[in-house]
């Protein structure tokens, strides 16, 4: 599955999509992503030419992220319910069909090679791994992987991958949910979860999912 999507990813997706919107939308999505639209800069300028993300810019990866999730974020930036100094103006320059086209384009790109997930092996887990893999049930905190997939690879169109997210980005998102500055997500799940995390737990779990071997900017954008 991984191999097939790596080799044929976008082309295959276009070929098998039933009818209507997608076949027409995909080239438009690609054009916006790579070259920008109506004054909006290309997505790839910050998110990487393959949508792989850029930790130094706190730009999360977009490749292989669910289209419903991506479209919802663009809509939230455009509506002002999610705020970011770079993304808010960009999203406002895109029409709704353009937002959806670009979301579909990135959702069909092959995800970057995932960092090796930490193994539990019966040994004591780090505090971040403990939260990510087991949660903290006495405080009604499920493990991250229970919704976001094994090792945080993402599930379906609405549970985005966590693996490889820049840690400063993840901390900023959890704080945004804690302070009501980001829409609560499906069923209010993430705002409920974020409000049960202490600052130390937030840091720990963000470090756990952060790319390995990449320098993380220290406390930027917080």
């Amino acid at each position: 599955m991984r191999l097939r999507s790596t080799l044929l990813g976008p082309a295959l997706a276009v070929a098998v999509w039933p009818t209507g919107g997608w076949a027409a939308a995909s080239p438009r999505g690609e054009a916006i992503a790579q070259h920008g639209a109506a004054g909006a800069p290309p997505c790839t300028a910050c998110h990487g030419s393959h949508g792989e993300g850029n930790a130094a810019l706190q730009a999360p990866r977009l490749a292989g992220v669910g289209d419903a999730y991506l479209a919802e974020q663009l809509a939230a930036f455009a509506a002002g319910t999610r705020v970011n100094s770079v993304m808010s103006p960009v999203a406002k320059l895109l029409t709704v069909p353009e937002q959806m086209a670009v979301a579909r384009y990135f959702s069909r790109l092959p995800p970057p090679v995932a960092p090796k997930p930490a193994t539990s092996g019966g040994a004591a887990l780090s505090p971040g791994a403990e939260l990510a893999l087991r949660g903290k049930w006495p405080e009604k905190l499920p493990a991250c992987v229970q919704c976001h997939g094994p090792a945080g690879i993402g599930v379906g169109a609405v549970f985005p991958p966590l693996i490889g997210l820049p840690s400063a980005y993840m901390v900023a998102q959890i704080e945004a949910w804690q302070h009501g500055k980001r829409p609560p997500g499906p069923l209010g799940l993430m705002s409920a979860v974020a409000r049960r995390l202490s600052p130390a737990e937030t840091e720990a779990v963000a470090k756990y999912f952060a790319p390995t071997g990449t320098a993380q900017p220290n406390g930027t954008g917080r």
Partner: protein, 214 residues
């Protein structure tokens, strides 16, 4: 096959129960007063190693006990927090309740026999023979979680909470809109991508709100 389907459905429903539970703020489920010991308190002794193996089976059932498991589930999918969480069939409450007479097979069952039933039915596998190291490990783990609990007492938090009888009779239309509002996020969405089809069956959030194990 029917058995497996029913099991899958039960766990899926349970998953949603868990997610909704997370979404709701504190909703006042009885937690009981008993607190099982944390994993770090497992002693480094021969007994401690059996306890640790028991916890490992609980979390990674197929990998740790492959000879007796016929599906992708793990004990901790239904017994949340590896059998620690009150109101999610905690093992510390089960341990002090056996041996017990069960209507299901109309005889007195030991704790080990009850565990065999889990492997045969919930895990769609084979009963480990009595005395097998898998059963010994699970007994050791359960007994350790229950250390200090009063034997034979009715422990608050045992099993799953009983739900009150619904005020309204069942209704397909209401069910459909409820499904769309509260369930589809975890069911319909992931089901559309083959890789994720069974995600919430295997990793489901847990079930402190819905009664009845498989």
């Amino acid at each position: 096959m029917i058995q497996l389907w029913r099991l899958a459905l039960a766990v899926l429903v349970c998953s949603i129960g868990g997610m909704v539970q997370v979404a709701d703020a504190q909703n006042g489920l009885s937690a009981g007063n008993f607190h099982p010991p944390p994993e770090r308190a497992i002693p480094d002794t021969p007994l401690g190693r059996a306890i640790r193996f028991g916890e490992d089976i609980f979390r990674h059932t197929r990998a740790a006990a492959p000879a007796f498991v016929g599906n992708e589930l793990a004990c901790s999918n239904c017994h949340i927090d590896a059998g620690r969480l009150a109101d999610a069939a905690p093992m510390w409450a089960a341990w002090v309740a056996f041996p017990a007479y069960r209507n299901k097979n109309e005889r007195v069952n030991t704790f080990a026999e009850r565990l065999q039933g889990c492997f045969r039915y919930s895990m769609n596998g084979k009963r480990p023979p009595l005395g097998d190291k898998v059963l010994v490990a699970l007994e050791s783990y359960s007994a350790w979680l229950a250390r200090g609990a009063p034997t034979g007492a009715e422990m608050p938090g045992r099993g799953y909470p009983r739900l009150p009888k619904p005020a309204l009779p069942p209704d397909y239309a209401r069910g459909e809109s409820l499904y769309a509002a509260r369930c589809a996020t975890a069911l319909t969405g992931p089901a559309s991508r083959p890789r994720d089809r069974w995600h919430f069956r295997r990793y489901g959030g847990g079930t402190p709100t819905i009664g009845g194990p498989a």
